[in-house]
Symmetry: C2
Subunit: 151 residues, 2 copies
Amino acid sequence: MEDEVQHWINRYMDAYMMVTRQVGARIKDSIAADTTNDQYQILRLINAQEQCTSTYLAETFCVGKSSITAIINRLVQAGIIERTRDENDRRQVYLSMSEHGKSVFEAAESQVHEVVAPYLFHFEKKDIETFIMMFEKLASLIQNDNGGKSQ
Amino acid sequence: MEDEVQHWINRYMDAYMMVTRQVGARIKDSIAADTTNDQYQILRLINAQEQCTSTYLAETFCVGKSSITAIINRLVQAGIIERTRDENDRRQVYLSMSEHGKSVFEAAESQVHEVVAPYLFHFEKKDIETFIMMFEKLASLIQNDNGGKSQ
DNA sequence: AAATATAGTTCAACTGTAGAACAGTTTCAT
DNA sequence: ATGAAACTGTTCTACAGTTGAACTATATTT
């Protein structure tokens, strides 16, 4: 029983590392050379979030706020992201994509689509649903378990 | 149909990023502070590979060989890894764990186990098998598709 | 009004990455 | 056998990402 769990974890870690690394490398090759994978992930979060803040990104990305400042500074520098202060609470800074940013992001999205989509055709529709649902369940389990190391 | 594929990809990317980041953060918190996640992944590869070389690590990890040199230098510095030249082909350098390295690695393994294992109990045995098998199939599809962007 | 909390930035030190130039070693063609 | 080509790994420089502590500015609490 313990052995079985250990065995699953090893297989999961092996497959996981392989997929993470290889997909990451392919995505990097396909998106514009001056956009990094981390920057693309940040853009996805900003795109999906109304009135996105640094604090939200830091928590979701599991890094300190100073890392977010560094990434956002580069994206602002590149004219992709704009900062807007909230006039009601001037501590808050909302992050949004400029017009140029939107087109960079959309180009990256479609490149990622082209990289990932071909792999889907090797699987049954039903299995894809199951796989994604399990992944989502895992994500939500982890998310609802913040801080509590046990359980 | 195209929409369905797009939708799958978005859901996959969302769940994938969440799981990657959160699991990464939890593993980092649990393993020794002076070992990074990337270093741990490298140790897993070295552990699994007889006569491991930099070239093998670079290919598997999808990075340039100079990145591997940098990581290995730090691990050698920390007394975790040892380099051994092949006397038959003096270009090759085999990487292996020192006794200290082995104990560091085993401690990390058991910490990772403690972090990951609890999540498994939320799933059916059958579903875990399916999930891991799909992950492995995906990994092997990607691996057998080196360079060829299409198909 | 003063203390406390919150949002974000700055800074220094470090890890990881890329790519080009390089050194040493082996293989291969002539 | 010799010189060219191929291969393994390292060095170097520049940059992206991360951390954690110190800091600024603003809002909230008491």
